[in-house]
Structure formats: C-alpha cells, structure tokens
C-alpha cells in the first residue's frame, strides 16, 4: 500500500525548547501523537549539575536529523515527525531533545520513536562536552534560627 510522504520538521536550536509546542494538525489518518522529551538531569553520577554543554557539527547534524526522521517515518508508515535538538549550554531541567511522532496506530508511533532515538544517539554528530557542576551553598553556621551554636 502506498503511503503519503511523511511531514518532517527537524531542527537544531540554541534557544530553550518550550514546555509545550503547538502540534501540527494531526490529519485524517492520525490516531496517535507520541511525544518524547529528553531533559538535562539535575545530577549526573551522583554529582549535582547546573548545566550541560553540547557541541555540534551543525550542517551534518541537521542533515542527519532530517534524514533519520524521514527514513524511519517511511519505514514505520508514520504521518509526521517533529525532531528538535538543542545545543550550546543547556541548564538542568531544560529539554535537550523534543521528538513527536504522528502515526495511524500506537505500534507505528512507538516503533518509529524508539528507532529515531537509537539511530540519533549513534549517528548524529552532537557531543555532550562538559558538565557545569552546581555549587551547593555551605551549611549555615549556627542553628536554624541563625544563632551561633552553644559549645
């Protein structure tokens, strides 16, 4: 059966990815919209983190994001894919990857999403380069009311 070409929106951004993104119209054949966000964790290897820096080979990364989304949307007969990868300095708690798959059925959407994430992690030239540690404030001197502790 012939499927229409999937709608692909693949982007890189230095700007924050908003907590909610307007979704394109799902279209008549769309039964599932599956969204995925990868966020920068507040701690890595047990150490508190304030931000993570991502390096990118921009022209190749953008082409790869688009190629991966298009190829795997076709493979799974998905209707559309939105794929946004942030780079630069990304604060803890912020979204670094946003991926939305629109498909006729759950299995197509889940399969497409999983495959895109796997291939992206393997082939898109983006690197997590540095972790900015979160400096914890020193414990207060004195008791909870701010009075010096009695010896």
């Amino acid at each position: 059966m012939e499927h229409p070409e999937p709608q692909i929106d693949a982007r890189l951004t230095l700007e924050p990815i908003p907590p909610s993104l307007p979704s394109p119209p799902p279209g008549p054949g769309c039964g599932v919209v599956l969204e995925f966000r990868r966020v920068v964790p507040a701690a890595l290897d047990g150490a508190p983190v304030s931000a993570v820096r991502y390096d990118v080979y921009e022209s190749m990364a953008l082409a790869k994001l688009s190629e991966i989304a298009t190829t795997l949307a076709r493979t799974h007969a998905a209707i559309g894919v939105t794929l946004i990868h942030r780079h630069g300095l990304v604060p803890a708690g912020d979204t670094v990857v946003y991926l939305a798959v629109r498909a006729p059925h759950r299995s197509a959407a889940v399969g497409c999403l999983n495959d895109i994430v796997e291939v992206m992690k393997r082939d898109v030239p983006i690197w997590r380069m540095g972790v900015v540690p979160r400096v914890m404030p020193p414990p207060p001197i004195g008791d909870a009311d701010g009075f010096p502790r009695q010896a």
Binding site: R38, Y54, D55, V56, Y57, S59, M60, A61, A63, K64, H85, H87, V96, V97, V117, M120, K121, R122, D123, V124, P125, I126, W127, R128, M129
Partner: protein
C-alpha cells in the same frame, strides 16, 4: 586539505580545524596517518572515531578529495 575537528579531537589538537599539505585523493587510512603524524595525541581516537566526507560517514573505501569537507567525528553523545 582542510579537516574539521570536533569534541575530543578539537580538545586534543587545541583547534577546530587543521590543514594538511595534501593535493591528491587519499584513503581514510592515509588521512589518519597524516593526522596522527601532525598531532600524535589524536592516535587514541583513531579506533573509535569516524571520518565524514561532505556530511556523510566515509567507509574504508571512500576516497577523500582535497576539495571535500572532511571532518573527524569522535563517538557521538547527543540524543
């Protein structure tokens, strides 16, 4: 021939690109030989990194032309 460096390769070489005095098509192995001769610190990356030619991953049989955009791609960690 201009070679773009990213991530660990950039950190090791201390710059984001290098120019090698090569004016003919070479293989990926020949490129690595020349890179390591110029920056021996890049040697440990040879086994784990890939070479890209004009935005596509090269294979062992790919010929790299002096006018191509060549890049050293250490193991990626995005996504």
């Amino acid at each position: 021939m201009k070679i773009l460096l990213f991530a660990q390769a950039k950190e090791i070489a201390g710059c984001d690109h290098v120019r090698l005095d090569i004016d003919r098509a070479i293989s990926v192995d020949e490129l690595w030989d020349a890179l390591v001769a110029a920056f021996d610190g890049l040697a440990p990356l040879r086994r784990s990194s890939r070479i890209a030619r004009n935005g596509q991953y090269a294979t062992s049989g790919t010929r790299l032309e002096p006018t191509d955009e060549i890049a050293v791609i250490p193991p990626v960690s995005g996504g």
